[in-house]
């Protein structure tokens, strides 16, 4: 049974049903109104229930199906490095400026690749920082701090 639960169908269906439940749960706090004058809660709750029903259907169909659709094998390292790079960019941009944000983002995102090539990474990060600053700050005049406030 456990192997079946980690198939694509039940996982996807569960994700949809869960999002639907959240929509219903939170949406019930908003006034629903009536059909002639719908309040802000009417559509979210209706959508939420539809998601619950559809998600449950997908999950059940996946459990009952004979085809063995297992979750494809995943290597989460690239994803984690990319997301960490984006997070570093978001956190550093305003306090430390565009140059630092780009250097950190590239340095971290390149960890997704093995083997790590430090010299190439530094060169790439510096080049991207220069190009990014040239295009977006000097060229287009976007109000982005270069070196923090």
């Amino acid at each position: 049974m456990r192997a079946r639960l980690t198939r694509v169908g039940p996982l996807a269906g569960g994700l949809f049903a869960l999002s639907g439940l959240i929509a219903v749960w939170i949406g019930s706090d908003y006034p629903a109104g009536e059909a002639r004058r719908m309040g802000p809660g009417w559509v979210p709750v209706a959508l939420g229930w539809s998601l619950v029903v559809l998600g449950a259907g997908i999950a059940v169909a996946g459990l009952a199906s004979r085809a063995d659709e297992r979750l494809p094998e995943s290597d989460l390292r690239p994803l984690a490095c990319l997301l960490a790079g984006v997070a570093a960019f978001a956190l550093l941009l305003e306090p430390a400026g565009l140059v630092a944000a780009i250097l950190a983002c590239v340095g971290i995102a390149r960890l997704a690749e093995t083997p790590y090539r430090p010299v190439e990474t530094v060169a790439l990060a510096a080049a991207l920082a220069a190009v990014g600053a040239a295009i977006f700050v000097f060229g287009l005049g976007l109000p982005i701090p270069l070196f923090g406030r």
Binding site: V8, L82, L83, V86, F136
Partner: protein
């Protein structure tokens, strides 16, 4: 005749000014570039460039963004033919016969066929857009809230049916998109919904961080996991097709153009679906279907014509109704909004220069693309030698700057991160992100029109079946769903997508 000619002349007058020619060329070049490079598509590129358009005239901005979309259709075929890897998802089928031709030493002929078929399709599609948009604008005068709601229901159903993979998953993704679209302040009551007390969410989830997460960050993660080694590009010797090849390609390009022009208008349609459908049609019509996959010229000409025609006719619902049929058109609407233009049927009469200038620029852009692609092919091929490990950090950094630059909001960069993780999960679970995006865009418009229609009818839902246009649209939606659920169609659909 002058009804069509005068506005087109006005359009060419706008499109041929030096500034707009420059933006058209810039868009076409950039589109070819990202088309050639796998792992970055027009959605991410256009989203990245939205802040750039702050400083441009609205016409120039839209001309450039449009050029990126159809330019990518040209560039995508180059990678497909030479390295057997689709530069764009819409050139997946071109790999089959295009690369087979390249292996036989006919790479040049395949490239020329693809470019010329695309140019022919682009020319026809430009006129199709010019002819049908004003007619649709006139038709849209009959639309009230009920009709708009029914139209969007039809659009979403069509998008579900036309999406790859399971219809149930596509439907769930659409609903999830609709729900995500509701996040933010309700315009009627001022109630904040699903904001979790975060003030930045009061204006709703931004379209750009959502698209960037789902289409750029998640895509890079999936690509990196594959550890692919890029195969060497085939040699290009001699560009011209033989007479026999040309004779086979011409009718295929014509059929592909028609298929693409029709399917492009449909929601969820556009370039991708058109190319698949055109290839399937050619295979069905061929006297000797066994040749497909072995280097049949028709298998290059038809899908390449279709994806370009589809890319262009998908502008029709966006321009005439203000309703985007796919993610790229939603971004175009976003670009209009940046410049204070409210999308909808009134754009044609209030902004004729923009409306017709954009249409005319498509033909100009297509002409430029033939010139860019054929003689400069060597340049594009050398771009393929840039390794992905240098490319992906660049894509990531420019995406981050693009998201931040739109609203100067670091929060939105964080939002893109969340949707990147979600997009990766969707990819693993076999859920296409395109229907979610469409639902997200249409969600607020649908709710608004539903509530307006129900207010007009005093709470009686029969308004949707009593008004004839609304009834027809809803019946079409039900019919579409019914046909997909019928077992015979289901098998045929599975087979069509398997190809």
């Amino acid at each position: 005749m002058s009804d069509l000619l005068d506005p087109l002349l006005l359009g060419f007058g706008v499109a041929l000014t030096p500034a707009n020619l420059f933006w058209c060329l810039a868009g076409a070049l950039l589109g070819t570039l990202i088309g050639v490079l796998p792992g970055i598509g027009p959605v991410a590129t256009i989203a990245m460039l939205l802040p750039v358009t702050f400083t441009l005239e609205p016409v120039g901005a839209l001309i450039m963004l449009a050029g990126i979309y159809y330019g990518a259709q040209y560039g995508g075929s180059t990678t497909a033919i030479l390295v057997n890897m689709p530069g764009e998802s819409s050139s997946v089928v071109t790999c089959l016969d295009g690369h087979a031709m390249a292996r036989k030493g006919r790479a040049g002929a395949a490239l020329a066929t693809a470019a010329l078929a695309s140019f022919f399709a682009g020319t026809v599609a430009t006129f199709a857009v010019a002819l049908t948009s004003p007619a649709l604008v006139r038709f849209a005068q009959l639309f009230g809230a009920a009709e708009y709601f029914a139209l969007m229901v039809f659009g979403l159903v069509a998008a579900m049916v036309l999406a790859h993979g399971s219809v149930a998953k596509a439907a769930a993704m659409t609903l999830l998109g609709l729900a995500l679209g509701l996040v933010g302040t309700d315009v009627n009551s001022g109630q904040r919904r699903f904001t979790f007390g975060i003030p930045e969410l009061a204006d709703g989830i931004g379209f750009v961080p959502l698209a960037m997460g789902l289409f750029a960050i998640a895509e890079i993660a999936v690509q990196l996991e594959r550890h692919f080694v890029r195969p060497a590009a085939a040699r290009v010797a001699g560009l011209w097709p033989t007479r026999a090849e040309a004779r086979e390609a011409a009718p295929a390009a014509l059929r592909g153009t028609l298929v693409g022009a029709v399917l492009g208008v449909l929601p969820g349609g556009g370039a991708l679906l058109s190319s698949f459908a055109a290839y399937a049609l050619e295979k069905k019509l061929a006297r000797d279907p066994g040749r497909f996959g072995q280097g049949a010229v028709a298998g290059v000409a038809a899908p390449e014509a279709a994806n370009n025609a589809g890319a262009q006719t998908s502008f029709v619902p966006m321009l005439a109704l203000g309703i985007p049929p796919n993610a790229v058109m939603a971004l175009m609407i976003g670009a209009m909004a940046i410049h204070g233009i409210v999308p909808g049927p009134q754009v044609m009469t209030r902004e004729p220069g923009l409306f017709w200038g954009l249409i005319a620029s498509m033909w100009v852009g297509n002409l430029m693309l033939v010139v860019i692609n054929l003689p400069l092919i060597g340049l594009w091929v050398s771009l393929l030698r840039v390794p992905y490990r240098l490319l992906y950090p660049a894509i990531l950094v420019f995406c981050c700057i693009g998201v931040y630059g739109l609203n100067n909001s670091a929060f939105e960069v964080g939002l893109a991160l969340v949707f990147g993780a979600l997009g990766y999960a969707f990819a693993k679970l076999g859920c296409e992100p395109a229907p979610l995006l469409l639902g997200f865009i249409l969600g607020p418009m649908m709710e608004e029109n539903l509530r307006r229609a129900m207010r007009l009818s005093r709470g009686d839902p029969s308004i949707f079946v009593e008004r004839p246009i609304s009834l027809v649209l809803l019946l079409l939606a039900v019919g579409l769903l019914a046909t997909v659920l019928a077992p015979s169609v289901r098998r045929a659909r599975a087979k069509a997508f398997a190809e």
